[in-house]
């Protein structure tokens, strides 16, 4: 029974096969430092250079390779098309979601860039509006509950949260995305797919646009049936060009009269 438990954990491995090694772009930056590595004491400057170089690793190529070499052979072609259509680009990623869980409703927008790593989200829910920005070692927050205050926390990294596209990608990679057939949402042609949960019951139903293969709607079901636990409507999910105006969208909005309260890493944690 215990061996079976480890097998079951192994079965939910989100990446059953290792990702391919990205190109070694960072090595050039390290090598240019000249001296043998073991003799050089670590310095702040070298760390920064190497970190920047490492962040430039072409991970996108590795992800694309996964898409091409993945488990598409056992899937209907639409599933592979959905997966490929949802690969991230290099502009400003924008998503606008509306979530319903019973009587609770949330409108959520997020803008994010990967170079530099930065994101801003605006959530409108029952308790008002919350705006969060993170990136460049700084996090800022503002809310309508406390409109006179902008909280800044120094020394933190951006953290992405739930993403409908990521859910689809992960299901496809795990062989758990099953296309059920065509449907329409309003006048919009779409495909209906099921993200199968591992213990047999339907996990969620996903509706994707028949032309762009981007998600339109996700409905999470209760394992035993009954009304869905959560509906997420994807109003927009797109890659905006990296223009000055769009890049500005990942910065905190102007909040006249709000005073900035800074929290250092030591006191903020």
């Amino acid at each position: 029974m215990q061996a079976d438990l480890l097998d079951r954990i192994s079965a939910i491995n989100p990446l059953p096969d290792d990702l391919p090694a990205p190109a070694i772009a960072s090595l050039a930056a390290l090598r240019e430092r000249g001296e043998p590595p073991a003799r050089r004491p670590p310095t702040r400057a070298r760390s920064a250079v190497a970190k920047r170089a490492a962040l430039a690793l072409p991970i996108a190529a590795a992800i694309l390779a996964l898409a091409l070499l993945g488990r598409g052979g056992r899937q209907f072609d639409v599933a592979a098309a959905v997966y490929k259509a949802t690969l991230a680009g290099n502009g400003v990623k924008y998503m606008f979601l509306e979530g319903e869980a019973g009587a609770r409703r949330i409108r959520y927008q997020r803008w994010s860039t990967s170079e530099p790593l930065r994101e801003r989200s605006v959530e409108v829910g029952p308790s008002g509006t919350v705006e969060l920005v993170s990136g460049a070692g700084l996090e800022s927050a503002w809310s309508t509950e406390h409109p006179g205050k902008i909280l800044r926390v120094h020394g933190s990294a951006p953290v992405s949260t739930w993403d409908p596209v990521r859910v689809i990608q992960q299901a496809y990679r795990a062989g758990r995305l099953h296309v059920l057939g065509k449907t329409t949402i309003g006048a919009r042609a779409a495909y209906r797919a099921e993200v199968e949960s591992l213990h047999g019951s339907p996990g969620s139903t996903v509706i994707v646009d028949a032309h762009t293969f981007m998600p339109i709607e996700m409905v999470y079901h209760r394992p035993g049936g009954g009304p869905p636990t959560l509906e997420v409507h994807v109003r927009s999910y797109e890659e905006l060009p990296a223009t000055k105006a769009n890049v500005a969208l990942v910065r905190l909005a102007h909040h006249p009269g709000a005073r900035v309260v800074s929290v250092t890493r030591a006191s903020g944690h």
């Binding site: 215990q2 438990l5 480890l6 097998d7 079951r8 954990i9 192994s10 939910i12 989100p14 990446l15 290792d18 990702l19 391919p20 090694a21 070694i24 390290l30 590595p37 073991a38 760390s47 970190k51 490492a54 962040l55 690793l57 991970i59 590795a62 979601l97 979530g99 949330i106 990967s114 790593l117 959530e123 969060l132 996090e139 927050a141 503002w142 509950e145 205050k149 909280l151 926390v153 933190s156 990294a157 951006p158 953290v159 992405s160 859910v167 992960q170 993200v195 949960s197 591992l198 213990h199 996990g203 969620s204 999470y220 209760r222 394992p223 636990t229 959560l230 997420v232 929290v263 944690h269």
Partner: protein, 177 residues
Amino acid sequence: MTPDKRFQALYHAHAGAVLSYARRRSTRADAEDVLGEVFLVAWRRLDEVPAEQERVWLLGVARRALANQRRGSTRRRALRSRLASQGQAPAAAPMPFPAARETRLGRALARLSESDRELLLLIAWEGLSNEEAARVLEIRPRALRVRLHRARRRLASVLAREGSGDATDNPTALEAL
């Protein structure tokens, strides 16, 4: 072998495994960051990387790098609370591993302590032997066997509780929004 060549060989042999290890436990952006951190450490301490245990050594570094990131993530989750009061941050939520937590077993794993969970995942996801997992966790093999037995028992217990109709069996993606 020159340091450059050794480093290149190390990178080509294990970068995929390190990236995957981090990606299984964090977001894509964080995993890329961890990959950079790990190989920066490897470059600095190249002569300390054991030839027969390269992957295990690198995963140990990756584990520590992820732990550092996790502290940053906790700050992020606490941000809203701090807006309301500049007092203490709330208790840390368990680190998500986004794909697996869609499942009942994944949610049960998320309820374990970080050390229990990591032990099980090193064996089940990274395919390490007990001895290798002990090296990554910097504990003795005998201690690992004891901890492994306890971690399995605790996981089975959480699963049994969830199987009795616990409401938390439902997806909680809205909370993650």
